[in-house]
Symmetry: C2
Subunit: 589 residues, 2 copies
């Protein structure tokens, strides 16, 4: 595997495409200059390249070792050292308030670091990743006492966190949860009993304590999702004694072997309520929405590593001559990058990855605005946009991440299928991103059934405004007509969904998956149009980074020639509706 | 994993869709009645379900064990027993002439068995699979002496075979081969020296002897692919002594762990020439073309197992209620097969698999005609069709096989990512089928650069004739207009290719991949149109298999609504040509 943090492209997206995400306009971040942000990201990139990346492949080979005698889990070689370096650099609490031991940096910084850390070691990133989610959830919903008790050691990295949702009988449908919480000590504490499965980082040897956020049901709770509460359940109680939490084993998975996926048994474990009784799912969703964006970045990160590796191979491997005649007559054959079909595979990866980076950061840059902008309307608009785009980023970036890692493997041919180049690990590891934090099918349902109808379509109107703002200045773009047609197709299809979905909700959910994809591609079109136009302007002023900017212009051409045209197919699929799916009787499958 | 041989669908394709492939009209097979064929296939299916399937998952876990002390390879538990049952049933020599110990059955029977055996144990199938290829090659090209010496023990299963092509510096580009063959004993024998890699079944413990077919260069051979010869090199020489062939190790791969992928070292190994000097590549291609069709069936087979497993899961797993209200109010939740997005995933698999089976058998049924039809023109036409369609079947069935195994995994959500249900193994194992026997990119080049221009486009004309013959009787099909438009689009695109490719060959190779896909989809359209029409006729006469035939009609509807419309996208991609690929400079990637 080969990887260098793509700092030039990150800077281009953050500061040329997105204009610095207005960070300096936020009172909280007046001192967070572009130079400071890029210096921090650059240091983060080095940490990933030098500490996380070297133990990635061995982490896959060795995996997490479960010892039934003491129910402990040992992480792979190198993970403990990497973890120490990671938390010492302050990354665990990078966006947390200083009052709780954090660095109070913009979410955007943590957002970019997620791409880099997942690109270099997805399995490792699961440990601080879950802690980050738990920190967000505790910050937002726990009592001040719990915050002061738990946030500082978590920010410091001495303690880590988990999310405990899934049970054997329920994953997507959390209304079926059976884990029980019985109050005691005057309703101040609860005894939690139940079994949770697929708990990422549920048990490991990186930290002294593990703080579980557990969904459970109070006695006499309402049925279904309205009767779920959230509890903080530490592995070690405040007095240092062991709580009734234990790991029953680790899962054997297709990949992500360095990440411990645990069965967690809670037996009269002591916990504290987080958020209101029966309001647990709402609290968990604060955490989940952010986590879903992060999973999108995982798909992007792994695809970037896969692309860099495939590109290295394609420039080195000599096979056959270019169809138009030898390009390197001094060599026994030409490097395979001269062959059009190899370029087709490489460019698909490059153009999708760079487009997806622009898409993710476009959304991620709004997180700080939604939280810290002094103007309520601005905060609301940013939040609307994030709400709508979270399922799109999660599903599209992981579907494409998986597709592009497979294309990278294909670029290597037989060498890609062996373990030598590491791409097969990327293909196995990235595969989970389409599933966890809500399968991509669930993301599409969230988009179509919850986000689109919200506030009479206000979120979609925000998206259209933002898409039009992106392309507005570039009236002489060679891609303008095609992009405007794409926007019109998106409007027409959304209209079809609104009309048919309101008559029959099954019509909407039946075509949610291609609709989500259509939204993503039209957004990418606007972003590529602007990126090419900016590159064109830049080339007229300064030729020092000629290759980078010319590649942007050519990449946009590739996108509009060979990627965007898929939207016609998607629109046809969508407008054919549900009939061909729902006509099947159960015994006709 | 769940699997039952899809005998009803196989019979439908062979005897309703394809009319028995005219087998009875061939003098060689006058006694091979439909009942006999289905009885043999049914027995084969049982063997696969009962012997091959049970050792598939453990074969993945244990893998092939290489012992450096004696350079031996031990196959996984159960493989030796399964192999004995397999060869005792006569499958190794199923199509071989009786004179050499074969059963002289139609190729079509072996063809169908390839689907079933690969569906149940792809790793196991590699051992008899390579032997089958070697038998074909020796039958077609070796001297009578070699045939009499080697074919009977291979047909009996006492000996096995390999194909030794790839070397570290060359896979696709065989012109770069370095292995040398030095004649001795009056040019009757040769001493072979060189290293071959990725040799499937190169060493193992299933047979007493292993017969390698090795590409090597004679002294003073012309440069490139015109200077390659083919040699038969046994592990044990006729006198029982060990030849200079040894296994240097086995590869560690993403999957297919039960199949030994070996490094083979030849050091002054004694071999015999097969075919003419410097004519080795042509001989090997006889073997490869057949093997490529077989690899297509592997993609189909694994996708069938994945679908059956996903379907079982989707009927059992209870999550959430149908959007239109509870379908099974007596259960705590509805089975997930009620949800439209789950049906979208399942039906995509079902409809593609059944379509691909029809496509593969449509081509496979011509193999016997191309060999045994008394009329030369009929043989020629069948051969034209096979030639053109071999790369299409290989690439499309394995691309879709990989895609559909991934959809099956997705249907299971988190359960699919763990090793419990076995689908993740199918995803890993099927991945190699897009690579070996020529990557799918190479298949597309073969189609566009070799097969299309051959004999002034005669092969493509044969395909069009056969497509039109399929749909001709069904003038009131509801899909006729759409299918005719699809055929017109295929003609238009092929015309574009012919014009632009003759001006600039890079234009053709740059869009070969989407073009191959377009050809496959238009063929599937014709096959689905006919299958639905046949089902409709059948339902009017006999309602005893109502579910099966109604499903065919509904599947065709799904195909024309949600799969075929991709061709518009493919055509746009193709007609955008090479520019966006070839404009990139090497340092702009």
């Amino acid at each position: 595997m080969h990887y260098q943090a793509p700092l030039q492209d990150i800077e281009f997206v953050l500061y040329e495409l997105l204009g610095g995400a207005k960070l300096n306009q936020l009172p909280r971040f007046t001192e967070v200059t572009p130079n400071l942000v890029m210096a921090i990201i650059s240091e983060g990139g080095k940490l990933c390249e030098q500490e996380l990346f070297p133990c990635y492949a061995e982490g896959d080979r060795v995996g997490c070792l479960y010892d039934p005698s003491d129910q402990s889990v040992k992480t792979p070689p190198g993970f403990r050292q990497a973890y120490q370096r990671y938390v010492t650099a302050g990354w665990n609490g990078v966006t947390l308030d200083e009052a709780y031991g954090g660095q109070a940096l913009p979410h955007l910084v943590g957002f970019v670091m997620e791409e880099l850390s997942c690109a270099t070691n997805l399995a490792f990133s699961a440990y601080p990743g879950l802690t980050g989610g738990a920190i967000n959830c505790i910050s937002a919903h726990a009592s001040e006492t719990l915050k002061q008790q738990y946030l500082p050691p978590m920010a410091e990295g001495k303690w880590s966190g988990t999310m405990c949702l899934t049970e054997p009988q329920c994953g997507t449908d959390l209304g079926l949860i059976k884990t029980k919480a019985i109050p005691f000590n005057n309703n101040d504490q609860f005894r939690i009993t139940g079994t949770k499965i697929w708990i990422t980082s549920g048990e490991h040897d990186l930290t002294d304590n593990i703080i579980h956020l557990v969904l459970a049901k109070l006695p006499d709770a309402p049925e279904g999702t309205k009767g779920i509460s959230l509890f903080l359940v530490p592995k070690l109680l405040p007095d240092g004694s062991r709580n009734g939490v234990s790991c029953g084993g680790v899962e054997h998975k297709m990949g992500l072997n360095g990440s411990a996926t645990c069965v967690m048994n809670f037996e009269d474990a002591v916990g504290w309520l987080v958020g209101p009784p029966n309001g647990g799912l709402r609290c968990m969703f604060t955490m989940m929405n952010n986590a879903r964006l992060m999973v999108g970045l995982q798909g992007l990160g792994l695809a970037e590593t896969a692309y860099q590796t495939a590109l290295t191979f394609a420039k080195e491997r000599l096979q056959s001559r270019a169809v138009t005649g030898a390009k390197f007559p001094e060599l026994p054959a030409d490097p395979i990058i001269v062959h059009p079909d190899v370029r087709r595979m490489l460019l698909r990866q490059k153009v999708i990855n760079e487009g997806n980076r622009a898409l993710a950061y476009w959304v991620g840059a709004e997180i700080d605005i939604s939280e810290y902008h002094p103007d309520k309307a601005e905060r609301q608009q940013a939040d609307d946009f994030i709400q709508l785009m979270t399922p799109v980023v999660k599903a599209f970036l992981t579907d494409e991440g998986s597709y592009c890692c497979n294309l990278a493997l294909q670029t290597l041919g037989g060498a890609g299928y062996t373990k030598d180049w590491g791409i097969e690990q990327l293909v196995r590891d990235v595969r989970i991103t389409r599933i966890y934090e809500g399968t991509n099918g669930i993301q599409a349902l969230d988009l179509v059934s919850r986000k689109l109808p919200l506030h009479q379509g206000r979120l979609f109107a925000v998206l259209l405004t933002k898409i039009n703002l992106l392309i507005k200045p570039y009236t002489d773009s060679p891609h303008l007509t095609q992009q405007q047609q794409a926007i019109n197709l998106l409007k027409e299809t959304t209209q079809w969904l609104a009309i048919n979905g309101s008559k029959d909700p099954e019509q909407a959910v039946a075509v949610a998956t291609p609709y989500l994809r259509l939204v993503a591609l039209v957004c990418l079109g606007a972003l590529w149009l602007k990126m090419a136009a900016l590159a064109d302007q830049q080339l007229q002023q300064d030729a020092s980074q000629k290759n980078f900017y010319q590649a942007k212009i050519k990449s946009a051409h590739f996108f509009f020639s060979k990627i965007l045209p898929e939207i016609e197919f998607l629109s046809t699929d969508i407008q054919s509706g549900k009939t061909s799916l729902m006509d099947f009787e159960l015994d006709e499958f």
